[in-house]
Structure formats: structure tokens, C-alpha cells
């Protein structure tokens, strides 16, 4: 009905991605609605959610407990407390139960931490040194993208430069290094360096809190797909939109635990909201911008091969070339490797049937990940449209035109040749 109404009142779009615009106007996603696409994105959400369950726990562990440890050699070794830490959106004591599963670490994650890819129980250090572990470096790369780009809107980022924040950070720094004259002396000499480190840790916390929500959302989507409750790409996208609105007000904060006391560097009372201070900056920094991938291509900045303004960066997953996955030094490679360990069987079977089967599964799941992130981006676009503009079935043509202008502006960002929006319209893009 919505589709009919929209088509009746607006002429077809002349945008390069007009079919995608019309699909968004009809309540769909940027990804075509096919069972194959649905299977891929849900399978990938599940595979993503398991390492994400590690990411958010470790990010918060680093932000809150490792803090300014000058030699954080064991920051990727999650203590039992962190593994048993209750997710606020899963389990019986959840603030809002998004996933029906347990609030503690996911069983597949625990098994992987225990035995790794080798499927053998070895000391943690051995698994770590063999790189048979979750690649936390990916999570840190995402965090650094958010920190490096900064200034992407919201109140959180400007707050990091306020005197109030610096005073809070100062208290925490002095408490953390109490009885440690060399570090306190160093802090006196280079105070900004320490403050900047705390800013980074605040972004650790920001991203950890963001992913604490997303992991149960993805788990729940996977379970609902398995139960037959999610049967189309728009349904999957709408689940995300509803999830976004359900947790939009979740506070974003940064607390540090030092010798049994909690230091509120960013107190919950500041009222920073999950949607505006974490979700949107994350999507902007990680999906769209990031930075040129290291190790695959040389960029000549003087020849303007790299944009002058950071806002014009276009190296996120929505633009990423997944083909070099497997080479060294590329954050997506680390994520693909993590997801490879937790793929649902139906997706493994699917990949075996295409391209080079198991040999290039990393590439295939990278492409599936790209599809799934276009659906997440679609959900964000629809959520923004819902929050800022008009319903899709609005009877006023001017409102519909405003919606279209918004959609077209969003899709203008995919006019770049590097964007994969055109590619994902075809099932042959694997």
C-alpha cells in the first residue's frame, strides 16, 4: 500500500540509484529483498555477534580497568569477571531484553577462547602468541577511526575538550598513578598526552557500550530467522530500526574503576544518548570514512588521491575492496578471520558452492558482510528519516518530496566509483 501511495504522488526519481531510492521509499532496504540476501546477512550477523560479544567486553575492560597501564600486555586476556559481566540487553536481569539468550559471554565465544581454531586446549598465552584468538585489533581500529575523525556531530565529542572533562580525567589519572612518582612526574611534564590517552579510552567505552547493544540485537535476529519469524530483508531492517529506537536513549558514559572506587570521567548524568553519541558517529566513522587500508595500495596525497577533508574520506566497509582480504595489515581482514570461526552451517554450505569454496571463504563472507552493513546503514537512514522527517505513507506530497530529497542526499555518498552499492544489487557479486 505504501508503495502504491508513494508512486502515485511522486514522479520517478532521476537519481543514479533510482531503483534503490524507490525501494527505500517503499520501506525497503538498499539491499534487494531476496532469500539469498537474507540468508547471507542474517548468517553474517550471527557470525559477527560472537566476536562482537568479546569486543564490547574487552573494550569496556580496557576503558574501565586497564585504563592507563603503560604496559598493557594482557589487555586482550579477558578476566572471568568480564566474561561473566551481564549484558544489559540479554538475560533475565536485562534493562531491556533484546535477546532471549544468556547475559554472560556467548557459549561459542567461551569455547573459542578455550580451544581456539586449533580446537585444542592450550595455555591462553600460547593461543595468544599463535594468534589463535579473537582479533581485538579490529575493535581498536574501529575505535581509533571514531577518535581520529571526531567532530561528527553530537555532544559527546565536544565534551572531551571541556574543562570539566579534563578535571574528571585529571582526578582519575592522579588516582591511578597514586604512589607512582615517575608516572606522576611524566604527567606533570606532558599533561596533554595523558588527557589524550584518556580521550581515547573514553572512545573505548563509547564503542563498547555501542556494541553491547548490537551483539544481542544480532543474536536475536539470527534466532528469529532460524525460527522463521524474519522472512525478508525489510523485516530484518525493521527489526534493526525498532532496536535502534528501543535503545536510543541508553546512556553513554566512561567510568574507571581504580582500587575499588569508581571515577566518573563521563558521568551518566551528562545524558549522552546511545543513538546520537555512539551509533551515528560509529556508522559515519566506520561504515563511511575510516582511513585507507594499510598494506594494499599506495596513495599519493599530494596528487589528491586522498581527500583533503576528513569528512570526504570513503574507506569504510560500504566502499571497501574486499578482494585484498587476506593480505597483511588490513582491519577488515581481522574481522573476516574472526567471523570465519562462527559462521552458521548454512552459510558455510552456501560459500562452499560458490567461487573457490573454502579457499576464498574470507572474500565471500567479506562481500556478505558488505551486504549486511548496507542493511544496517539502511536501518540508520530509515531511523533518521523517521526521527527527522515524515512517514513513508504521508499523504502530503511535499513531505514525500522531503523524504526523497533526504534519501537522494544519503545515496549521493554512494556515487563514488569505490562504493559497492551498485555491486550488491546483483547476486553475482560474491
Amino acid at each position: 500500500m505504501t508503495t502504491t501511495a508513494t508512486k502515485a504522488k511522486l514522479p520517478p526519481s532521476n537519481h543514479e540509484f533510482a531503483p534503490v531510492i524507490h525501494r527505500l521509499e517503499a520501506g525497503g532496504a538498499m539491499l534487494p529483498d531476496t532469500p539469498e540476501n537474507l540468508m547471507q546477512i542474517i548468517g553474517i550477523y550471527k557470525a559477527y555477534a560472537v566476536p562482537m560479544d568479546f569486543y564490547w567486553r574487552d573494550l569496556l575492560y580496557i576503558a574501565e580497568q586497564v585504563f592507563l597501564n603503560p604496559f598493557p600486555l594482557f589487555k586482550y586476556f579477558l578476566p572471568q569477571d568480564s566474561l561473566e559481566r551481564h549484558n544489559h540487553y540479554a538475560g533475565d536481569d536485562a534493562d531491556l531484553r533484546v535477546w532471549r539468550g544468556e547475559a554472560t559471554a556467548h557459549p561459542e565465544l567461551l569455547e573459542f577462547i578455550d580451544k581456539g581454531e586449533l580446537k585444542t586446549k592450550l595455555p591462553k598465552l600460547v593461543h595468544h602468541l599463535l594468534h589463535d584468538r579473537v582479533n581485538m585489533e579490529f575493535a581498536e581500529a574501529c575505535m581509533r577511526a571514531m577518535l581520529w575523525h571526531r567532530g561528527m556531530g553530537g555532544q559527546f565529542d565536544p565534551y572531551l575538550d571541556t574543562d570539566e572533562y579534563k578535571a574528571n580525567a585529571d582526578r582519575a589519572i592522579r588516582a591511578y598513578f597514586q604512589g607512582n612518582p615517575p608516572m606522576l612526574g611524566l604527567y606533570k611534564l606532558f599533561p596533554e598526552m595523558f588527557i589524550e590517552q584518556v580521550r581515547q579510552l573514553s572512545y573505548y567505552s563509547n564503542l563498547g557500550l555501542f556494541w553491547e547493544v548490537m551483539a544481542p540485537v544480532f543474536f536475536e535476529m539470527s534466532d528469529r530467522y532460524d525460527e522463521g519469524d524474519i522472512t525478508s530483508v525489510p523485516e530484518a531492517m525493521n527489526f534493526l530500526v525498532n532496536g535502534i529506537f528501543a535503545v536510543a536513549g541508553r546512556p553513554i558514559y566512561h567510568h574507571v574503576h581504580i582500587r575499588g572506587e569508581v571515577y566518573e570521567i563521563i558521568p551518566k548524568s551528562k545524558g549522552f544518548m546511545w543513538l546520537y553519541e555512539a551509533a551515528l558517529p560509529y556508522v559515519e566513522a566506520v561504515f563511511y570514512r575510516t582511513a585507507p587500508f594499510r598494506g594494499t595500495k599506495s596513495y599519493n596525497a599530494q596528487a589528491k588521491q586522498v581527500p583533503e577533508d576528513q569528512k570526504d574520506f570513503h574507506y569504510g566497509i560500504l566502499y571497501a575492496d574486499v578482494m585484498p582480504v587476506g593480505t597483511a595489515g588490513i582491519p577488515p581482514t581481522l574481522l573476516m578471520q574472526d567471523m570465519l570461526h562462527f559462521l552458521p552451517p548454512y552459510l558455510v554450505d552456501y560459500y562452499r558452492q560458490h567461487c573457490r569454496g573454502e579457499d576464498d571463504m574470507l572474500i565471500q563472507l567479506g562481500v556478505s558482510f558488505q551486504r549486511s552493513m548496507y542493511v544496517v546503514t539502511s536501518a540508520v537512514i530509515q531511523a533518521l528519516r523517521t526521527a527527522l522527517l515524515y512517514p513513508l505513507d504521508d499523504p502530503n506530497p511535499k513531505h514525500l518530496q522531503a523524504n526523497r530529497t533526504f534519501f537522494e542526499a544519503q545515496l549521493d555518498r554512494f556515487k563514488r566509483p569505490e562504493a559497492r552499492l551498485g555491486d550488491i544489487q546483483s547476486s553475482d557479486y560474491r
Binding site: 587476506g326 593480505t327 572474500i363
Partner: protein, 504 residues
């Protein structure tokens, strides 16, 4: 013992070709591989039996055949022919290993490859000029068919051109051999009988005849125009054999018959031969630079690198002759590897065009092993130390410099040009982003990888431990120089003994 190397593949060719109903296709495939494998194993046995301290022929076999014509079935192997016989057996085996079972008209293909193996082995082993000529001509039949039936779009043209050139080469050689026999008054075509009795003028005429005949086979500029067509139109396995071993018949003939039968004349024309080598090297390298077809690039590169053998042969001192033999083996291994890899690239991508290919080093979707080995092959061809190409070129240039310094330096410059065109190849084909159809290449199978891996191992091992290669031929090349009427003044600036003796 030596006859096995000829008759095992020849009988195998007859068995596969003449009794097609005895075996199904799969069995035919494996029988052909087994015959080639046995031939190769027999060559290995031969190598272990060979006494490297002896400079003359070993394992000689003699059977009178048509005595009035002076044609005897007389075989022998020395340090000059042994590496080439081994190279022949190895490449034939690798070619059959890498041949897809789906090759069209498989029985004819296998029998022709085995027949070619027998003919080339016969030519290298023959101690009788007429017997050599027979085998030299015999290899034309399978090669013509291999190019003409399993070649590319213009295979008919290429095969016919190849046949015409090689037939002319054969006629010229026959004339030279007959002239040698008649003028020397020999009643036999056994070339161990000396020709020193011939006056210098006669030697010059006969030697120039042989240079032209074998120059077509190598090929030398300006007799090379059959090569681009034949190498490019031939299928990859046939190109491996053409570049890897067939072209060596030309350089082998020059060394064995040109230098061996006419040493006085050789000394007279040696400066001109060295100039011809420079012209060929420069021409081959410069033309290779402008190619966009990888196979053509390698073909012209092959022309350039074969000219180093001519340069070393012209210098004719112990070190340069050793370099010539090493360069023949090194070039055979390298060019076979490169043609095999190009064949794989063409099979998987459907193209050899450098304006189309890119990103093949992609680790997951590209052809990383092929690309990686191609880099090794091109490095070896460019004479990078640690690889066998360096050994051949170093000995060649070191040996030749004392005799022809200017020509040697010019040839040395062409090795820099080798780096130029191969860097172009690598940069265009291997780097960049996989796009479009290239992003969905089929993977390379194990049986396709084996020849490339075997050749690469040999290229590296012989590069790291060159004494394994040079001690095969050292006695023979020293004997060849000693057999010349005069001892060369250029006993080499380098202590060849020290070079080839492995460290204690």
C-alpha cells in the same frame, strides 16, 4: 643404455598412437605420464652412472646401419649433451604431468609429445652426422602437428611457417654435413674423425652454412621471424618444449659441430658471431619491451637470452663454454617455467594481454602461486643472484669478457633490459585491483602447480649450488678447448676451478 632414452618414448608413442582401443582416455593419460616418468628416471640413473671426470663420450653404442652411406647407429653422451638430455626428459615429463586429461585428441597428442622426446634425445645423443640429421628432421613432424592441431587461432599459419623455416634449416645443415664428409674424404659421418685437414676456405664456407642452419633453429636475428608466431600460437606445453629444449638443438649444434669440426674457421668468424649475438640480444630485448602479449614478451626474451650462448660459444674458452652449457640449461628451465605459468594465466583468465590482466597476485581470488613463481622466473631470467639464471649469465659474461669485452658489455646491458620488460609484466599483470571477470578466476589445480614448483625448485637449487650444474660439463668443455688446434690465450680471468669446486 642410451637407446632406452630414444626407444622407450618412441615405442610408447607407437603403442599409444597405433593401438588406441587398448586403453581408455584416462589410462592413456597415465601410460603417457608413466613412459615419460620412466624415461626421466632412466636419465637420472644415467646421470649417477656418468663419470664427470671424463671429457669424452661415455655409454657409447654402435650398430652398423647403412654403411655405404656412412650412416651408423652410433650414440654417445658427454658433458655437453648430458645436461640437455636430462633437460629434455624432465620437460617432457613435466609437460605430460601438466596436460589436462580433457586435451582434444589425447592419443595423438601424447604420442606426438613422446615422439618429440625420442627425436630430441636422439639428436643430442647421435654421434653420426646423418643420424643427427635424421633425428633433427624427425622432431619437425610432431612439432608441426603439435602447433598445427593444438595451437591458437593462427596455428595453421604458424605451423606452416615453422615447418618451412625448419625444413630450410635442415636442408642447409645436410648440405654442410655432406660438404664436410666429401671435402674431408671421410667414408663415415662419424664426427669424431677430425676435419683439420680441410683448408681454411672450405672450413669457412661449411661453418657459415652450419651457422645459418643452426641460427634458424636457435633462432638468431635475422632468421627469427618464425619464432613469435610459433611460440605464441603453440599451446603452453608445446611452447615450453619449443623454448625449453628444441631451441637448444641450435646452440648444441653450433657448439658440437661448428666449434668441434671447424675450429680454425670458428676463430676467424668468432668476432662476427659475437656481433651477431649482440644484435640478437639487443633486438630481442627491445622488442620484448614493447609487447603487450606476455607470451610474445617471453618469446623475444628467449631470443635475447639464447644469444648469450652464441656469445659464449664465440669466445670459446673453458669458462665461456661452461657458461654456454649452463646458460642453455638455465634458459631451458626458466623459459619452460615462464611459458607454463603464462599458459596457466591464459587458461584461468582467458587472456595474455597486459592491458587486460591485473591484480593476479591477489591472495584469495587471484593466482598468487602463479604470480609468485612468475616473479621468481623473471628474476631468474634477469640474472638475479641465487637463481640459476645468474650462474649461466655470470659464467657466460665472465668467460666472454676477456675475448670480446665490448660485445660482452653490450650483452650485459641487455640483462638490464630484461629487468625492464619483466618489471613491466609484473607491475601490469600482478599488481592492481582484481575487477570484473578477473575477480572470479578458477583456482589452479595441484597437477597444474607441480611442474611450476619442480622447475622453481631446480632454478633455486642450481642457483644456490651451481657446482651441481657446472661439474657435469667442466671436463667436456675443457676437452673441447684442448682439442682445438691452439690453446686459447685467454685461460680466463677467473679461476674456473675455484668457481666450480664446491667449498669444503
Amino acid at each position: 643404455m642410451l637407446s632406452t632414452l630414444i626407444w622407450l618414448p618412441m615405442l610408447g608413442a607407437a603403442f599409444i598412437g597405433l593401438w588406441p582401443r587398448l586403453l581408455n582416455l584416462s589410462q592413456t593419460h597415465w601410460v603417457a605420464r608413466a613412459i615419460a616418468g620412466l624415461t626421466f628416471l632412466w636419465t637420472v640413473v644415467l646421470i649417477f652412472q656418468f663419470d664427470f671426470q671424463i671429457g669424452g663420450f661415455q655409454f657409447q653404442e654402435h650398430l652398423p646401419w647403412i654403411e655405404p652411406l656412412g650412416l651408423d647407429y652410433q650414440l654417445g653422451v658427454d658433458g655437453l649433451s648430458l645436461p640437455l638430455v636430462a633437460l629434455n626428459s624432465l620437460l617432457i615429463w613435466l609437460v605430460l604431468l601438466s596436460t589436462d586429461e580433457q586435451v582434444p585428441r589425447p592419443r595423438l597428442f601424447y604420442s606426438m609429445v613422446l615422439l618429440l622426446s625420442a627425436a630430441i634425445a636422439g639428436a643430442f645423443l647421435a654421434q653420426n652426422l646423418l643420424l643427427f640429421f635424421l633425428f633433427y628432421e624427425l622432431e619437425l613432424i610432431p612439432l608441426y602437428l603439435l602447433i598445427g592441431i593444438w595451437g591458437g587461432v593462427n596455428r595453421g599459419y604458424a605451423a606452416t611457417k615453422f615447418l618451412i623455416y625448419q625444413a630450410i634449416s635442415g636442408i642447409i645443415l645436410l648440405a654442410g654435413f655432406l660438404g664436410w664428409a666429401w671435402l674431408s674424404g671421410s667414408t663415415t659421418f662419424n664426427y669424431e674423425v677430425g676435419a683439420q685437414v680441410l683448408p681454411l676456405g672450405a672450413q669457412l664456407v661449411l661453418l657459415i652454412t652450419l651457422v645459418i642452419g643452426f641460427g634458424i633453429k636457435m633462432p638468431l636475428v635475422p632468421f627469427h621471424t618464425w619464432l613469435p608466431d610459433a611460440y605464441v600460437e603453440a599451446s603452453a606445453p608445446v611452447s615450453m618444449l619449443l623454448g625449453g629444449i628444441v631451441s637448444k638443438l641450435g646452440t648444441y649444434g653450433l657448439l658440437r659441430f661448428g666449434l668441434g669440426l671447424f675450429p680454425d674457421a670458428w676463430e676467424v668468424i668468432a668476432p662476427w658471431l659475437s656481433i651477431l649475438a649482440v644484435a640478437t640480444a639487443l633486438y630481442g630485448s627491445l622488442v620484448a619491451i614493447v609487447q603487450t602479449d606476455i607470451k610474445k614478451m617471453i618469446a623475444f626474451s628467449s631470443v635475447a637470452h639464447m644469444s648469450y650462448v652464441l656469445l659464449a660459444s664465440a669466445a670459446a674458452n673453458p669458462l665461456s663454454l661452461l657458461g654456454a652449457v649452463c646458460q642453455m640449461v638455465a634458459h631451458g628451465l626458466i623459459v619452460a617455467l615462464l611459458f607454463h605459468l603464462v599458459g596457466l594465466v591464459e587458461t584461468k583468465t582467458g587472456s595474455r594481454d597486459l592491458t587486460v590482466l591485473k591484480g593476479l597476485l591477489n591472495p584469495k581470488r587471484g593466482l598468487p602461486l602463479v604470480g609468485g613463481l612468475m616473479i621468481v622466473g623473471t628474476m631468474a631470467s634477469a640474472g638475479i643472484p641465487g637463481l640459476v639464471g645468474f650462474i649461466g649469465e655470470f659464467l657466460t659474461f665472465q668467460g666472454s669478457y676477456t675475448t670480446f669485452p665490448v660485445q660482452t658489455l653490450l650483452c650485459l646491458a641487455t640483462t638490464a633490459l630484461t629487468s625492464v620488460y619483466f618489471v613491466l609484466l609484473i607491475n601490469r599483470a600482478l599488481f592492481g585491483r582484481l575487477e570484473g571477470e578477473l575477480a572470479y578466476l578458477p583456482k589452479v589445480c595441484r597437477f597444474e602447480q607441480i611442474p611450476a614448483i619442480v622447475l622453481t625448485i631446480l632454478i633455486v637449487c642450481l642457483g644456490v649450488q651451481p657446482s651441481w650444474l657446472v661439474h657435469w660439463s667442466q671436463s667436456t668443455t675443457e676437452a673441447m678447448v684442448a682439442a682445438m688446434a691452439h690453446q686459447p690465450a685467454v685461460e680466463t680471468a677467473l679461476n674456473s676451478q675455484a668457481l666450480v669446486t664446491p667449498p669444503a
